[in-house]
């Protein structure tokens, strides 16, 4: 791959305990016992993962999986750590798309010049994920495979029309469109023996503008509602636009201009579309926000984000 992700400080220190590959890890405080496997190649990883299909989980940055293990909400028998597989990290370009290795860290993406140029929406959204320390370990593949209904990156993948490459030992490689990838809360189209290896995202075309914004309880918290938008504007009219939302359903949600009733509308009157969208969604309630609150955020955030996307488009920049 072209641009290499900056070297990360030892993945195992501090935070994750240093594990000896192949050992039974009852020595690890908090986590339930599991066998730790650390393959050096993708081929080996696919094989180990397939061998133990239902009992195995792959470990990427661990920022979601390790807390799940610590709370004993997940109990895999085998943990296949992908962090020694260099071929899964990196950022390159091919056929008008940016190709990102699944193990590329969120922080590496945030600081990549290539990403800034081709996919300016991505760093904007990344800055809302946790804190730099978390982003330095968390990976793009991990976030997408995790499928958190309040995460930022699934919405970005949807709105930018990402293609996700999954591989398995027995069935080889397949490509899944982001639209078909997120199936429900923490549930994706990945099969038990598959590993997400690469994410291909088409360049944001010149003439389009994009924006991501969210409302969370504190800086770095998961979004109560997050909105990603990409728009193309011609002579003050919307030629096309896509909006993806996070935090509003059991998974990230995508709406295109047709569904939003915005095609051919003037770039500036989004309130009605936002109201319709808010009504048709049935957002969840939790300690951080009631369902009516989230609906209200949809009404207020969608127009704001669309306006900024249109302004960016009109400014000719693609930011």
């Amino acid at each position: 791959m072209g641009e290499q992700a900056p070297a990360r400080p030892g993945r195992y220190s501090p935070g994750l305990p240093r594990l000896v590959p192949g050992t039974y890890a009852a020595v690890v405080l908090k986590l339930p016992p599991f066998v730790y496997l650390a393959p050096a190649s993708l081929e080996e990883a696919l094989s180990l993962h397939a061998d133990h299909e239902d009992e195995s989980r792959v470990l990427a940055g661990g920022q979601s999986l390790i807390p799940l293990l610590a709370l004993r909400l997940a109990r895999p028998e085998y943990l296949v750590d992908l962090s020694r597989i260099g071929e899964l990290e990196g950022i390159s370009e091919e056929d008008g798309a940016v190709c990102i290795g699944a193990m590329t860290s969120e922080l590496a993406l945030e600081h990549s010049h290539l990403i800034a140029e081709r996919l300016p929406l991505l760093p904007q959204a990344l800055s809302f994920i946790g804190h730099p320390a978390i982003r330095s370990r968390g990976t793009l593949g991990g976030s997408l495979a995790h499928g958190d209904p309040a995460a930022e990156l699934p919405a970005v993948a949807l709105v930018l029309g990402a293609q996700l490459v999954a591989e398995s030992r027995d069935r080889g490689r397949r490509t899944i469109a982001a639209r078909d990838f997120f199936l429900g809360p923490f549930t994706t189209a990945l099969q038990g023996d598959e590993i997400l290896t690469e994410i291909r995202i088409p360049w944001q075309a010149p003439g389009t503008g994009s924006c991501f914004h969210e409302v969370a309880r504190r800086l770095g918290d998961f979004a109560m509602v997050g909105v990603a938008a990409v728009a193309r504007v011609e002579q003050g009219m919307i030629r096309s636009c896509r909006v993806a939302l996070t935090g509003v359903a059991d998974r990230a949600v995508l709406r295109t201009d047709g569904e939003l009733g915005l095609t051919g509308e003037s770039a500036g009157s989004f309130d009605a579309a936002a109201r319709r969208l808010a009504e048709e969604l049935n957002p969840p309630a939790d300690l951080h926000g009631s369902a009516p609150y989230r609906r209200h955020l949809v009404r207020t955030l969608v127009p704001r984000v669309l306006e900024r996307a249109c302004q960016a488009a009109a400014a000719g920049a693609i930011s």
Binding site: L287, S290, H296
Partner: protein, 784 residues
């Protein structure tokens, strides 16, 4: 130079760098988890998944057989080793206590209640084995609200108490309540809610217990606010003589009221060590800490204020209900302080105060920084409601009602003298620092642009230690001081610093009073074999009580040392002095004698019988201080907020403090205490809530759900110290640990209420997350 008169103060009053900083800021602090002991065992608890259930069967054999497991105790086995009777509440004189055990025997009473304890070679093994324990339960309906506790429809949580009402309603009347209500032009009524939230120290509860078979002594390294208190409880619950228990404490990762005495799990840990004859450690994890360590402040208040049209508050009627949670806790003990303090620094003539307490299937009510703080919240919110009702400015209403300093001093209607009160000065000074008129103009201009800005003010006083002699101290605070042959003055205190910088501030006082360099004072804490009696750190007790004890004991030791030096050197005590660690003055050989040399000379002289009868030859002194003339801490806080009507988020734009904590020992330490308290107040209002669902499942059991303020949520806090009114000849330091947390919540709530008032919102609660703000503003529907 007159012996006995302290030299000029060099340290007291200045921001001396903290002694604690080097070790704490470089990660070299020593917490219970850092202690290395050979043969150490670790424990983990199996805990109840139910809020309320009968325990039918506890099966521990699979866990017991797991490799690396040393022992498993269920409730009955543990009950044979130690009792839960003789705990903190008995120590505090509470009666009407139910019987229960360290680990559940018959029943579990909250989610997370400990049911069985696994002791193993590693913590990981203990945790894995704790999951292998199978418990059969018969679920009972959970009592989750005060209404459910009071209506008697649900089974009692403690059978022997017979009901879920813990006490009350108990009424106390001060002044002529009916009369002032009859005289009043208006009566302003409100039901005000104080939500449940909690301490959340960085280090949870922790203990390492080592029973020594040879000596029959148990040594416990504990995370505690007072080693003596922990010792008393451990000894009582293990049935050991006090002298056979030693409690040690090193650095403590915060507490805020949580770590007093010894909790059920901690005592179980001691019992296990005695039984297994090996050291046993328990470090509470975050899930345990958030779920079961204890929670604070769930109270509701029905209040009425009798007011005149001019805004004079004549009196109040208050009915409060406190939710004590499951096991005996701090709730009954705090009522009398809430009752006494609710008039605050205001001139009201009558008060009727009725309190009752209930038991619910939630975490036990514990003390949390300013445990009685709801009196300030309720009163300061009510004052703003009165102002709104009368169309007056809340600042003006406060000003009209604040008590003046008089001779003889005014008294609160509940009794205490208001001698030395500076509440009015603090409010007036705030009016100079912050231009309210200009703000009102700005606010109106912003409002016209659709923006919601608000300002809030709150004023309070805190008995730290309170006026004397009306409120005699619960106990004297002792300090012992000694001069060692290294020339170092050691000061021993039962105070147990857990973030308050006592080792710095006490050394500042002692160094000045004794006449040595700051570096030449050692403050000894955290060892029951060494420290004097005293319950420990709490109730803003340090500054006046322990600071005063240190002041007096250092002076006493200084006189003793000077007298001894005079004898040895054969000079008049009046001609010599102690300065910078040396005896100086006429007749001293070479004009100066280092203290270390003096100690050697004194030892030799004593051995040779050269010290005349009547000379105090001991290089040690002890002093028990009653608080002297005491006095109030207090002040006024003011903040400016902006509420975003699109998101319901609140931004604190400016936060100002005018405070009086008496003579300031160390400004940096005082300001740190205030800032920390204000940060917790911001957390309480905007972020922190200990939430349960209706079945008693705890919803705030991780930091994803229990949100603490971070640096991005806390603004710069501007602090000004007011000129204090000294009441005592010697000791005018007053406690400051709790005040920030007492007055910040009403300050912030008042500002938010002011900001959203144009929408018709009335704020009657303390917790105001974004959803609630938009509900109050009528922007989104309220829950049914």
């Amino acid at each position: 130079m007159i012996a006995g008169r302290p030299p000029a103060e060099r340290y007291t009053g200045s921001s001396v760098r903290r002694t604690e900083d080097l070790r704490l800021l470089t990660g070299r602090g020593r917490y219970v988890a850092d202690i290395q002991v050979p043969g150490l065992l670790h424990c983990a608890f199996n805990r109840s998944p139910h809020a309320h259930a009968r325990v039918l069967r506890v099966q521990t054999d699979v866990a017991r057989r797991a490799p690396g497991v040393v022992a498993v105790f269920d409730g009955w086995q543990m009950a044979k080793l130690a009792s839960a009777a003789g705990g903190m509440m008995e120590l505090m004189g509470e009666t009407n206590l139910p019987s229960f055990s360290l680990l559940a025997t018959d029943k579990v009473r909250l989610v997370g209640d400990p049911v069985a304890m696994v002791v193993a070679e590693t913590r990981a093994i203990a945790e894995d084995a704790a999951e292998l324990i199978e418990v059969e339960y018969e679920e009972l309906p959970a009592v989750m609200t005060a209404a459910q506790a009071r209506d008697g429809s649900l089974p009692p949580i403690f059978e022997d108490l017979g009901s879920n009402v813990l006490f009350g309603p108990d009424q106390k009347v001060f002044g002529e309540v009916d009369r002032v209500f009859a005289e009043a032009d208006r009566i302003v009524k409100a039901r005000i809610a104080q939500h449940r939230h909690q301490n959340v120290p960085m280090e949870g509860r922790a203990i390492l217990a080592t029973f020594d078979q040879a000596t029959g002594e148990l040594v416990a390294h504990a995370a505690t606010q007072g080693v003596n208190t922990s010792r008393q409880i451990i000894a009582a619950q293990l049935g050991m003589p006090l002298e056979k228990v030693r409690v040690l404490a090193f650095d403590i990762g915060g507490s805020f009221g949580l770590k007093f005495g010894a909790s059920r799990e901690e005592v179980a840990c001691c019992a296990a060590s005695r039984e297994l004859l090996r050291p046993v450690r328990w470090i509470e994890d975050r899930l345990e800490n958030l779920t079961v360590s204890g929670q604070a402040r769930e109270e509701s208040f029905d209040v009425e204020a009798a007011v005149t049209n001019e805004g004079e508050i004549l009196g109040m009627r208050v009915e409060m209900v406190i939710d004590s949670g499951a096991y005996p806790g701090f709730a009954p003990g705090i009522i009398s302080t809430i009752q006494e303090m609710i008039p605050g620094p205001y001139r009201m003539r009558a008060l009727s105060f009725t309190a009752s307490g209930v038991i619910t299937n939630k975490a036990t009510y514990v003390a949390y920084r300013g445990p009685w703080a709801s009196e300030t919240f309720v009163r300061e919110r009510l004052i703003d409601l009165v102002a709104a009702e009368l169309g007056l400015d809340p600042f003006e209403v406060r000003l009209r009602n604040l008590a003046e300093r008089g001779q003889p001093p005014l008294r609160m209607v509940t009794g205490p003298s208001l001698a030395g009160l500076t509440a009015k000065e603090s409010l007036l000074r705030m009016g100079e620092i912050f231009n309210f008129e200009e703000f009102r103009r700005h606010q109106a201009a912003m409002r016209a642009q659709g923006r919601y800005l608000g300002v809030g003010v709150a004023t309070y006083i805190e008995p730290a230690p309170g006026p004397r002699p009306e409120t005699p101290p619960t106990e004297l605070e002792w300090a012992r001081a000694s001069l060692g042959e290294d020339g170092v003055v050691s000061v021993f205190t039962a105070q147990m610093p857990h973030g308050q910088s006592h080792q710095t501030t006490m050394a500042q006082i002692a160094a000045d009073q004794f006449g040595v360099d700051f570096e030449q004072v050692r403050v000894v804490v955290g060892d029951t074999d060494q420290v004097p009696e005293g319950f420990g750190t709490g109730g803003s007790r340090f500054a006046s009580m322990a600071g005063g004890a240190a002041l007096h004991v250092s002076r006493q030791l200084r006189s003793q040392v000077l007298e001894l030096a005079a004898q040895i050197l054969d000079v008049s005590p009046a001609t010599i002095d102690i300065r910078a660690g040396e005896v100086v003055g006429d007749g001293v050989p070479d004009g100066r004698l280092p203290l270390s040399e003096l100690v050697k000379l004194a030892r030799a002289a004593a051995a040779e019988g050269r010290i005349p009868q009547g000379t105090e030859t001991s290089l040690e002194a002890s002093f028990g201080f009653d608080g002297g003339q005491g006095g109030w801490s207090g002040g006024t806080h003011c903040c400016v907020v902006e509420v975003d009507p699109e998101t319901g988020r609140v931004r604190v734009d400016r936060y100002m403090v005018v405070e009086d904590c008496g003579e300031v020992i160390n400004p940096a330490v005082v300001e740190g205490q205030i800032r920390g308290g204000v940060a917790q107040g911001i957390g309480a209002v905007l972020l922190e809530r200990s939430a349960y669902d209706e079945w008693g499942q705890y919803l705030s059991s991780s930091f994803m759900d229990y949100l603490l303020p971070t640096t991005t949520d806390v603004p710069n806090i501007e602090i000004e110290h007011l000129q204090t009114i000294p009441l005592d000849q010697d000791v005018n330091f007053r406690g400051v640990g709790e005040g920030g947390m007492i007055v910040a919540p009403p300050t912030i709530c008042n500002a938010i209420a002011d900001a959203i008032a144009p929408s018709g919102a009335v704020v009657l609660e303390q917790h105001l997350p974004p959803t609630r703000i938009l509900e109050l503003m009528g922007i989104i529907p309220q829950p049914a």
